[in-house]
Assembly symmetry: C2
Homo-oligomer: 407 residues x 2
């Protein structure tokens, strides 16, 4: 008699984007003819750069000919792609071995599945607000209790507030797995080297493991800010890095990412190399590699020309970010993010909850944003705007804000 995994019952329905869709729909129905501008979701809108497109066409073409056709990928990653990563990391002083890089199909699956190599009894720490995948994957795996008042029992939440400039503080209790996302989704905050050093120190002392999500690292402009946790000394013994081509190269639909589980990484009960081997075993058992066409695209991204063209793509979205940021700053808002990250995190005006401000912005300016409270209780009183969008829509949006938002 089959039984279900009861942990699924603990999961909160992800009402956030459903509620946003409902309210938006109701507004459109009540105001026929109005065009709504969507700055809510972090989905890419701009085409993939030419050199990457050419790489993927070549990848498809290879599969059409007997001489160049390839089947299964036995190494969890095209060796040329892995070598390109080694060279790319080396530019920032990070030395890796090709075998430490595991090519995956994106940041969501890798950050969701990585927990499976750890004990179901491990205690996790996440920021509040948080990217929901870190929490939900651990709920499914049974690492949390039930949900109440915006929190799961048994999870240690690290508040992100204006007081700490949206940088998580090292937990004052012992935790086993620590999820960090920098640049942060949703707040747009970026951790400095000093901030990361504190976490690396904590993790090494407590034999905790940091799961570092650097999906937005290419949006960092400030050269002093770390793009990889391995820029911090000692991080290889305590940190896993997960990253993605999604926002860097417009690969949200193409699906390509990478995860580094260093051979030096240890836990309380494992020697060097064991966690590395476990992730490799997990992936060879339950995954069969990213699409070879996507990987050819990834190789093109990492070429000189590819990096240049993808940087232009990033710059385009960051141009959007600047437009949004400056507009709200001029109107006297307190604005976070948007400088080294594609998310703008606004403080709502006094007296407005996140959802009240959502309704105000929608009705007055016809713009759909995301209520900060949807990402966790510390997000209450904040509002996220995404810089992913077509420039003409962002321009329309900022004009509408300037003209129509009642202050």
């Amino acid at each position: 008699m089959a039984k279900i995994n009861k942990n699924f019952k603990k999961l909160q329905k992800n009402y956030l984007f459903i509620d946003i869709a409902k309210r938006t729909k109701a507004f459109i129905e009540a105001n026929p003819g109005v065009t709504v501008l969507r700055l809510g979701i972090g989905d890419t809108t701009e085409p993939i750069p030419p050199v990457v497109i050419a790489g993927m066409h070549a990848g498809v073409e290879k599969l059409s000919k007997r001489e160049t056709y390839t089947g299964y990928d036995d190494n969890l990653g095209n060796p040329r792609l892995k070598q390109a990563f080694v060279d790319w990391y080396q530019q920032r002083g990070v030395s890796l071995d090709t075998s430490e890089i595991c090519i995956g199909d994106g940041g969501k699956p890798d950050s969701g599945n990585i927990q499976s190599i750890f004990s179901p009894k491990n205690i996790i720490a996440v920021s509040d607000p948080v990217y929901p995948v870190y929490v939900d994957s651990n709920v499914i795996a049974g690492r949390t209790g039930t949900y109440a008042n915006g929190k799961y029992k048994g999870v240690v939440y690290m508040p992100l507030t204006s007081k700490n400039n949206f940088i998580p503080k090292v937990p004052d209790v012992k935790v086993d797995l620590i999820y960090l996302c920098s640049p942060n989704n949703p707040t747009g905050g970026v951790m400095s080297k000093k901030d990361l050093e504190r976490f690396v120190k904590y993790a090494r002392k407590n034999k905790s493991v940091i799961i570092f999500d650097s999906a937005y690292s290419m949006y960092i402009k400030d050269s002093d800010l770390p793009r990889s946790i391995y820029e911090i000394e000692g991080a290889k013994s305590c940190a896993i890095e997960i990253s993605s081509f999604s926002k860097w190269a417009g690969f949200t639909g193409v699906r390509l990412g990478w995860t580094i589980v260093p051979k030096e990484l240890v836990s309380e009960d494992s020697e060097k190399g064991e966690l590395h081997a476990m992730w490799f075993r997990r992936q060879t058992t339950m995954f069969n590699g990213a699409s070879n066409i996507a990987q050819e695209g990834g190789i093109a991204v990492l070429s000189k020309q590819g990096q240049k063209q993808c940087q232009q793509l990033v710059d385009y979205y960051m141009g959007n970010a600047q437009l949004i940021r400056n507009t709200f700053l001029k109107l006297g808002f307190t604005v976070y993010g948007g400088e080294n990250a594609p998310y703008i995190w606004l403080k709502t005006p006094t007296g407005y909850s996140s959802w009240e401000f959502f309704d105000k912005v929608l009705s007055e300016t016809h713009i759909v944003g995301t209520p900060g409270s949807g990402f966790g209780s510390c997000g209450e009183g904040y509002f996220r705007l995404s810089a992913f969008g077509k420039r003409e829509n962002i321009e329309k949006a900022v004009k509408s804000i300037q003209k129509n938002l009642k202050l």
Copy 2:
């Protein structure tokens, strides 16, 4: 203090293909200049058909233009691909709703991850010999005891032997999850409608769930044999179907598959629709859809012309199968499989274990096959040959067998 998932320690190292590689390497080193023919691994070698290549090029091209670019896939599958599946299943009298089809990145990930929606205490039944992913994914999730004498404690094994014509018998104890693979890897056996009816009856009676892997269904020539478990009445209430484009369209490296969790499916402790919703939740939480380029290829596979061209690809490999099968039959071997499946399952000559026959075939004919014992203890005394390969190599192989194999 992070701790590991100790279940990984129970996993047996997958020595099979490592051992094969080692012995092959040793043979080549001892016999310089000899060309070895590899018929061991089930990896595709022939190019992807033209109409599918055109579909994938068009998919890449879409991503290059602002007007046609798309990002995240919100529905776990391109709606056109899902509709094409509904039409395709309907041809065999199977009615599905598009929402019941979840597009994934291949049979291995889906058959590995599906167990996560079930209780960690569920008892699984698998065939012996078996495709290792079904077992290993459950070992990692903690549904088994330790390994001894070729078996994991707590797992119910259904022997596949010449006595039952390599068709699993319904367990005589109560089990919760039943993995069936038909056409079978490695034996090449195919379950009839009556065989499947027995399992459906058992599952409905015991509220068990069947996980039916039909990755090789397109290799079935006999029109009386079921290609989908949903051809059996009542299967929707007790069976999940997992399948793949890998062997059908040469997508081993492209990565595309599909999983059907019907809304009618129930378990002991869940109502209709709950398991369906749980799989959807698992996938939206920890997966972000298959590559949109691969999905455009999938749509092309399901077109009239695509189906025709992919059938030619299947026929090519089945031509290989016939060559291998007939060669061994003429030599007086007892041969199974290879008629409705791309695997030939040979009984080794009297006195030869699987590995002894492996060594004999390698040294005498320079052909690499797979010892049946590597797939489970009931595989001892058998030898698998794969029909995936270039025709010229298969022809060389059968000539060498005819000429050099000492009987």
